[in-house]
């Protein structure tokens, strides 16, 4: 246990300062794939947050009894089972959205964000702080997904949550949808811009340069 456990910072740090996606660049595969509309992004965010929080809680509960030799496989089995349960729940009550998410719910299992948090935090902390930390990280992931999903749906379809916000040109309005926004590359661009913005505002997040450029020499006479 840490000397002093601060509920507020554990919960809010992963939102921007320690955001798992923009700072640690974890879990971007699904972040890119499911953000064509806000509804799918929201479902994915909720699913990941639920899985992450429950997995952290379960793993933290049995943390003193996980043999070191099989700890990764124990964690993955727990995460995978939770993911299957969530997937079944989605198929039962949110059949449409479950179709739109296709394989990506199943891929939460291999999302490095989940394993990263359980391995780095839940394995060494009591259930409550572990779940709080996981929930905060889930919220950080959700925040990025919602921002990218919102931008992509707004500029790609002129809508938010399926409700037309910008009048489309082919229906008498002025807005011509940017089809690029619905394709995968746009998610890379947006995520890149987002990381750039965050690091410009919080310079301590910027990584050290890997190389120092050589000093410019005077041209030889």
């Amino acid at each position: 246990m840490p000397a002093r456990f601060n509920v507020w910072t554990t919960l809010t740090d992963p939102l921007i300062r320690q955001n798992p996606v923009t700072l640690q660049i974890l879990g971007i595969c699904s972040a890119l794939a499911v953000t064509t509309s806000l509804a799918t992004a929201l479902t994915m965010s909720v699913s990941l947050t639920v899985v992450l929080t429950l997995a952290a809680g379960v793993i933290s509960l049995i943390r003193r009894h996980i043999p070191d030799t099989i700890r990764l496989i124990v964690q993955i089995v727990i995460v995978a089972s939770l993911v299957i349960v969530i997937d079944q729940v989605l198929q039962a009550w949110f059949a449409e959205i479950s179709k739109a998410l296709s394989v990506y719910v199943g891929l939460i299992t291999t999302n490095c964000l989940v394993l990263g948090r359980t391995e780095a935090y839940a394995r060494h902390h009591a259930p409550l702080p572990a779940m709080l930390d996981a929930f905060g990280n889930g919220l950080g992931y959700s925040l990025v997904l919602m921002v990218i999903g919102g931008l992509r749906e707004l500029f790609g379809k002129g809508a938010l949550f399926g409700v037309q916000v910008l009048p489309l040109a082919d229906q008498g309005g002025w807005f011509t949808p940017l089809n690029l926004m619905l394709l995968a590359p746009s998610a890379f661009f947006l995520l890149g811009f987002l990381v750039w913005t965050v690091r410009a505002l919080l310079p301590d997040q910027a990584e050290a340069r890997e190389h120092t450029p050589p000093l410019a020499r005077e041209p030889a006479e």
Partner: protein, 264 residues
């Protein structure tokens, strides 16, 4: 120190984490609990999922029928509903003893399935049911549209679809894919209406009554072909074989002949 603990669970848990017994115990404990959780959720949620799928299939049949030109008017004439018939595949006529209500029980009996030999088994099914529920639309006393459920092996798994044939039993009126597990974005595009739109008007047989239908590689060039999907050759092949199997003698062939002769 407390005396020796006789509770076996506590004794195992008190073992050092690195001991082999505890490692094996934890592995079995975790996998057992997870298996129970997953099976519990699956069993508990299956009825809801099945209801969802049934509703979806009905919606697809409705969309399939609505998408066929001139069908809306015909439907209204016949009271706005398709009639459901359980047919006996081998005989090509309505089943005498099995109805829609008892179909599920009948198919639970392995005696009502016919094993397929390798040469016949184009669709890769292994066996086919003897009774199938189909949907019919009658215009006067002749059949103007049939909806035939078909299924076969695709690339990623089984593909289930419903094929609509016009009254001549040769012209395809439409196809709706109800269930598949093809690769999303490649073979998975068979569920898109853009691809299914190339089916209406396609003819199954040539003048010599030979089945010519196929999914083309690339763009369709004859009246017997539909457009292929780039990157999904195996899926296209699966659809070709599935249609040929079900429209052939082992599938709905006898039924289609009976309808053409006006005996149905």
């Amino acid at each position: 120190m407390a005396g020796r603990d006789w509770n076996p669970l506590r004794r195992v848990l008190a073992l050092p984490n690195e001991s082999r017994a505890k490692t094996i115990f934890m592995a079995f404990l975790v996998s057992g609990l997870c298996a129970a959780m997953v099976s519990g959720a699956t069993v508990w949620l299956r009825p809801i999922q099945a209801a969802n799928r049934a509703a979806e299939e009905q919606a697809r049949i409705a969309a399939l029928v609505a998408g066929i030109p001139g069908m809306g008017a015909l439907l209204e004439q016949s009271g706005g509903a398709l009639s459901t018939v359980v047919i006996d595949l081998a005989g090509g006529r309505a089943a005498a003893e099995v109805t829609s209500a008892t179909l599920e029980d009948a198919l639970a009996d392995p005696g009502n399935w016919t094993a397929l030999e390798t040469g016949q088994d184009l669709a890769g099914l292994g066996q086919r049911p003897d009774f199938v529920q189909i949907y019919l639309l009658r215009d006067g006393d002749r059949v103007s549209l049939v909806l035939l459920p078909i299924s076969g092996q695709g690339y990623g798994g089984r593909i289930d679809a419903i094929m609509a044939l016009q009254g001549d039993m040769n012209t395809v009126a439409g196809l709706a894919v109800t269930n598949h597990s093809e690769t999303p974005g490649l073979g998975g595009r068979i569920e898109e209406s853009a691809w299914q739109a190339s089916f209406p008007g396609t003819e199954l047989r040539d003048d010599g009554k030979t089945l010519r239908f196929r999914v083309a590689r690339g763009t369709a060039s004859t009246v017997h072909e539909v457009d292929g999907i780039t990157g999904a050759t195996r899926t296209g092949l699966g659809v070709t074989k599935m249609v040929r199997f079900w429209m052939g003698p082992e599938g709905y062939g006898p039924l289609l002949d009976a309808i053409t002769r006006g005996e149905f």
